[in-house]
Symmetry: C2
Subunit: 293 residues, 2 copies
């Protein structure tokens, strides 16, 4: 019986699963992200114990090297996460488990998951954005996962930042007040001194919605997606997307017949697969690499 | 003998040509953009006089409706240009000249031209950006012209704007200080009180390079293009791209192995076809529609 392995390799945890699709997940495990050696060891042990699998798909935090022709294919590259810069993930797992491995970003994996069996079914061009500890974005254009020179890094674009209204410097170690630096969960916690889930003040979430909308407008102007899926721990906060909808419409200000004339709530919306989009998308990546090999 | 027609339909002039490629342009005419009726009439008269042609490609200022299934395919839609909102261009030309018509944005046409015979040969994913009276952007992703819900409108993303350093409000009638509102030729002229070509002060061009770089960083973070071609009357100013290179590297700040580790001068560069990219790309659009019909 066909069995794929999927890994959503996140900065705080790795979600591993074996199965073929959302309705057929036969084993799953959550592993805390510690050192590369320990984390990889535990993931490999899971697949050795619960497998075998025919192929493994990995959706990883980044930046990553996903160019098949590159000698460092399968590596996490210049991540600021301590201990993880220039770490081989894909080649190590392929070598240790002796199966084909597909390696892409966590957000491209989630996008693929939503395309297969979620909120992006039937669409050619759409984005998946995660707003959690960091901010990442990926998606499909013309029916193919979005790559390019490397891969998208939505979180590091610059957005307007009115320092009179919000004197916070931002938390990005590379850029300070880039999108992720201003609007990620880590930024919210640093600005307000408490974890996002403990913050209820309207001012917190109105500012957050404003920053998210500014970034989304850049995504709309550059990619013209047919839909934008917003996931992640912060993105899932009840009521937040409704505030974002209002700010996006206000920023677009009637320019472009779409999305203003459409139904904004079905244009910017949560993942149908919820927090499982990444790991289920990783299973779909494994299926893709099997079909190609 | 095969003959294609190409129109670069710009806000200030229309460039019309008949031929098949950059080395085979048999007739050309520049028409001043006045009213829709007069401008369309003169373009149609050119093709009646110099033709016949097998198909016509049109690269138009926008926003436009390029969805083949739409009843308003071929129209310029919500443009702020007086007299031109909701103008049928593509259907009118198709009806009057009785040939297949391809209709896309001016920047997608220019991108196609550069892909065929210019600075984007052999690339799958790249952008073409024009900085002239306005700012527009298009390109290819995975080897296909970038569409989506509608088409990209790079010029209307928001970028950081420090009003203490630059109190100028921006010129966009929809958004004020969006990218086009701050960095287009019209914005430069309004901020400094003279036409861009008459301005020599370093402060003018350092600010312009800063704004252009901010937008380009968003393009890099969202699309991860293999190359960015910058054309247009302002974009062509000698020395400007060198300033932009410096600002882009400074903004990226070593995050992402690329483009920082590559040769930035061959990453962000002028069109090989110069100001003819649009009309030559329009000829290539005509060839595409002929192949499909």
């Amino acid at each position: 019986m066909t069995a794929y392995g999927g890994i959503e390799a996140g900065g705080s945890k790795w979600e591993c699963a074996i199965g073929t699709n959302p309705d057929d997940v036969r084993a799953a495990e959550t592993i805390k992200t510690t050192t590369p050696k320990e984390t990889l060891g535990r993931a490999i042990a899971f697949f050795e114990r619960e497998g075998p699998v025919d192929a493994i798909g990995i959706g990883s935090f980044g930046p990553i090297d996903q160019k098949l022709s590159s000698p460092t294919w399968g590596h996490i590259t210049t991540t600021p996460k301590p201990g993880w810069a220039h770490t081989d993930v894909g080649q190590e797992i392929r070598r240790r488990l002796s199966v084909p491995v597909a390696f892409d970003t966590d957000v491209n994996a989630a996008a693929l998951g939503e395309h297969r069996s979620g909120a992006a079914k039937g669409l050619d061009t759409f984005c998946y954005i995660t707003v959690g500890t960091g901010i990442g974005g990926g998606g499909m254009v013309g029916g193919q996962l979005l790559h390019g020179l490397i891969h998208p890094e939505f979180g590091h674009m610059r957005i307007p930042h009115d320092r009179d209204a919000d004197p916070f410097d931002g938390v990005c170690s590379y850029h300070g007040d880039c999108w992720e630096g201003l609007a990620s969960g880590r930024a919210i916690a640093a600005r307000w001194g408490r974890a996002p889930e403990e913050l209820e003040d309207d001012a917190v979430w109105e500012l957050e919605a404003w920053y998210l909308a500014l970034g989304l407008v850049s995504v709309i102007c550059i990619l013209s997606p047919e839909r934008i899926i917003v996931g992640g721990g912060v993105g899932r906060r009840p009521g937040l997307l409704e505030l974002v909808h209002r700010e996006v419409l206000s920023l677009v200000n009637g320019y472009l017949d779409a999305p203003a004339n459409g139904d904004i709530a079905s244009y910017i919306l949560p993942p149908a697969l919820g927090s499982r989009a990444g790991v289920l998308g990783a299973l779909a990546l494994a299926e893709l690499v099997t079909a190609q090999s």
